[in-house]
């Protein structure tokens, strides 16, 4: 009998492992170039003051990602499919334009990250960006994308160095904890902007589409929905755990000494005195991996979402001629995204943060679609949102809209 209990336990573990993946992968990919730049900016400009926000965002992130994953499990369809089937062409067009803008700016951010990370090693962007964009196009077309994805995810394990440096920076832990749980706010435009960017980089429109498709791909059955939930929650926690330490590390070093980061090099250098001379190199490799992965995921997932919604041919097993819209979107994203970075005097870090601000401002639109879908009994059956989830998601939506409004009216009010 002992053997059967052992084998059922083994089965349970295998079951959990078979479900885990999409949530954790999406979350890890979420700490991309723009993410790191944004968190580093948060820490260096405002110290620990935004940690409470990060704490609350983690809860929102977990809830929103869970909604996407649950939709994938219950309906077996991607988010853009569901939007098209339930809201018609006009609303789909609106959602897709939103996604296109948000994803395009993020793609530019990823190429900025590639340029910035390799500049730390002294490689000019005029060499790194054309080469990597060619590489991205090649991998998407010819190589095994799934394998590449795993490789770059592996590179990002290097982020653990941030946790170490967070400790080595000897932050004032009392301050850290106080700021994590007690909110403080400022109506300064830069504060509001960076706050929106922080939400925008943590909860992004593309993640919802990407995660839902991965869950559908994985084919998780409704019976295992609770394991899927843990995968997503774990992912949300992990992504923000790292973000937390990036903020703490930069706050304890750069903010304390009044240094504002202008380049990725600054952010990397911030680690050097505390985590040793390899830290900046490690950081650069992590940033490079994250950016390169993002540069793959964003064009690809945008192309899938748009072609699925409008019924164009898609799929990597098709040729360019058979699926021109699909490949066209990918090619445009890569060529124009990389092209912008090659313009002289482009401020890379600034660009990454602007991308996140746009993400943050456009996020409520996608969230409203998701909320409508996840509350539709006809679509979700017994798996509609719980009250608590609705409250958290709506509060997130309303909060971002308020922040955006503050940003818009500020110049006129002179606060």
């Amino acid at each position: 009998m002992a053997q059967t209990t052992r084998s059922t336990r083994l089965k349970n573990i295998l079951l959990i492992l078979s479900v885990i993946g999409p949530g954790l992968v999406t979350a890890t990919a979420d700490n991309d170039a723009s993410g790191i730049a944004t968190y580093a900016m948060v820490g260096s400009m405002f110290g620990y003051k935004m940690l409470w926000g990060l704490f609350l965002i983690t809860i929102s992130l977990a809830v929103i990602q869970e909604m996407a994953a649950r939709m994938g499990v219950v309906t077996g369809k991607g988010l853009s499919d569901l939007i098209r089937e339930n809201f018609g062409v006009k609303m789909t067009f609106f959602a897709m334009v939103t996604l296109l803008i948000a994803n395009f700016t993020t793609t530019v951010g990823e190429f900025a990250g590639i340029a910035a990370s390799l500049e730390i090693f002294g490689i000019s962007k005029y060499i790194s960006v054309p080469l990597t964009s060619f590489f991205v196009w090649y991998i998407i077309n010819k190589g095994s994308y799934k394998k590449t994805e795993k490789f770059f995810l592996g590179l990002m394990v290097i982020y653990v160095s941030y946790i170490i440096s967070g400790f080595l920076a000897k932050p004032d832990w009392k301050e850290v904890f106080k700021n994590t749980f007690i909110p403080s706010f400022s109506f300064e435009p830069s504060f509001v902007l960076i706050f929106i960017a922080m939400i925008g980089t943590t909860i992004t429109p593309w993640m919802q589409f990407y995660l839902q498709s991965s869950v559908v791909d994985k084919g998780v059955s409704v019976k295992n929905i609770k394991y899927q939930r843990w995968d997503v929650f774990l992912g949300a926690f992990w992504t923000d755990f790292i973000a937390f330490f990036i903020v703490v590390a930069t706050a304890a070093t750069l903010y304390k000494h009044g240094i504002r980061i202008e380049t990725a090099e600054d952010a990397a250098k911030a680690l050097e005195p505390f985590a040793g001379k390899y830290a900046s190199g490690l950081f650069a490799i992590g940033l490079f991996g994250a950016s390169l992965l993002g540069a793959h995921i964003l064009p690809l997932s945008t192309a899938y979402a748009i072609t699925e919604a409008f019924g164009f041919e898609n799929g990597l097993d098709k040729k360019f001629k058979e699926a021109p819209v699909f490949y066209g979107i990918i090619l445009l994203f890569i060529v124009i995204g990389a092209g912008i970075i090659l313009l002289p005097n482009i401020p890379l870090i600034k660009l990454m943060i602007v991308a996140q601000e746009i993400n943050g401002i456009l996020l409520p639109i996608i969230l409203v679609y998701m909320l409508k879908l996840t509350n539709d009994k006809e679509i979700m059956g017994e798996y509609v949102n719980s009250k608590l989830f609705n409250v958290i998601a709506w509060v997130t939506v309303v909060f971002i809209i308020i922040l955006t409004l503050i940003l818009l009216v500020q110049p006129f009010l002179n606060i």
Partner: protein, 417 residues
């Protein structure tokens, strides 16, 4: 003035419905057609009037054009009962949804629907899956055409006649046509499998459940592992078990290897005992052994059978083409002792016993041998099939060249990955 001969659904949906006195009586939400016709006829309309939605008889409606706009007029908003069976709601079930293009044999999304106005009523004639339909829905088709016209260019449009369309119902949309999947069943199993693979998991299972057992078995064989797994795990055990019984035991063993153990056991227990025993035996072989890929569906004859008896037996069994590449001959203990080809059989006298014409020099493999050794044997002796024996030389199965090719492709793919 019914001067309209045909129109697009998107041009009338959401429009106001007028009475004969030109008063607004409601808003058109949907059109309901009777799908039992080859060209479905609009029989009812879903109208929102006075804050509530109702289904009304379409025979009181006329549609005409005035100043370039479509006007919907009705003499009467008479509620009508429509049966769920054999009716389709065009907006709810077709517009923006996926359908199967039977000629292109693929899944496409519907951008618009074309209807024709005849003296006998309004009929669905085609679905629009092209770019123009998309732009029309966005209100961009006309202005864009105006711009393109001087340039001598046009927006490509793609219509599929309703005859070549198969709507895809899902249980969620409560579309349950008695004839829904009749068209799909006419497709070749591998085309049908390709279509099923493109769909979401619920629809996959739903469509599969509408196929008859024979067809379902053929399609299941052609499906990719992931879709197989989904079908096997989401359909009722009895249904799947019935389908599996129609499949060759080695295919079943392969498929069951891919799904959860509990489910596989459940399925095996629901299958007829004879069939499931065979599958179970096959499943016990290690992955790279001959036993794992052999089929147990083979025909053998006893040494003392005459040519006449053998041919009669073949007529009775009506074996599949690949089962009669070679006819194996066994003794009373089922031990393999020879092989007879169809040619030998046909040219011999009816009363000749098999042991006189059989070739005693049979090339065979053991069930525990490695798959790699098969490839060598098959190519060395140019065989189409190899018999498989167990420890005590008993004939227990056959490996057909198709299975080896499949196995080789699988290995090659693994090496590439």
């Amino acid at each position: 003035m019914p001067n309209v001969t045909s129109f697009y659904l998107s041009r009338v949906i959401g429009n106001k419905v007028f009475s004969e006195e030109k008063k607004v009586v409601g808003r058109l939400l949907d059109l309901i057609v009777d799908a039992s016709y080859i060209r479905p006829k609009v029989i009812a309309a879903k109208v929102k009037s006075g804050g509530q939605t109702q289904i009304v008889d379409f025979s009181f409606f006329i549609i005409y054009k005035e100043k370039g706009q479509y006007v919907i007029e009705t003499r009467n908003l008479k509620p009508i009962d429509v049966k769920k069976e054999d009716t389709i709601m065009l907006v709810r079930h077709i517009l923006d949804k996926q359908i199967v293009d039977m000629n292109g044999r693929k899944v496409v999304r519907v951008n618009d629907i074309r209807l024709a106005v005849l003296s006998t009523g309004v009929y669905v004639i085609a679905v629009d899956i092209g770019f123009e339909g998309l732009l029309r829905r966005l209100g961009l088709a006309k202005p864009l055409k105006r711009v393109l016209k001087p340039l001598g260019k046009n927006i490509p449009s793609r219509l599929i006649l309703w005859d070549d369309v198969q709507p895809l119902a899902s249980p969620r949309l409560d579309l349950k046509l008695s004839t829904t999947y009749s068209k799909l069943a006419t497709l070749h199993p591998s085309d049908l499998a390709d279509i099923i693979e493109e769909l979401d998991k619920k629809t996959q299972a739903y469509i599969f459940s509408t196929l008859d057992e024979e067809k379902a078995a053929d399609v299941l064989e052609e499906l990719e592992v992931e879709a197989q797994r989904n079908v096997l795990e989401s359909l009722p055990v009895e249904k799947v078990a019935d389908v599996l019984e129609k499949m060759p035991a080695d295919e079943v063993a392969d498929i069951l290897d891919e799904i959860k153990e509990e489910r596989a056991e459940e399925l095996l227990n629901s299958m007829e005992k004879e069939a499931s025993e065979e599958v179970k035996e096959l499943m016990e072989y290690p992955e790279n052994s001959v036993g794992a890929i052999m089929t147990t569906d083979f025909i053998s004859f006893k040494t003392h059978f005459t040519v006449e008896q053998t041919i009669e037996e073949l007529r009775r069994l009506k074996p599949e083409p690949d089962e009669i590449y070679y006819l194996y001959v066994v003794d009373n203990e089922e031990k393999l002792c020879g092989v007879v080809s169809l040619r030998d059989l046909v040219i011999s006298e009816p009363q000749t016993p098999l042991y006189e014409i059989m070739n005693r020099d049979v090339v065979c493999v053991k069930d525990t041998d490695n798959v790699n050794s098969l490839v060598e044997i098959i190519s060395k002796y140019s065989l189409l099939a190899v018999p498989v024996v167990n420890e005590s030389k008993k004939l227990i199965g056959v490996v057909i060249i198709n299975d080896i090719v499949y196995e080789l492709l699988k290995m090659k793919r693994k090496l590439l990955l």
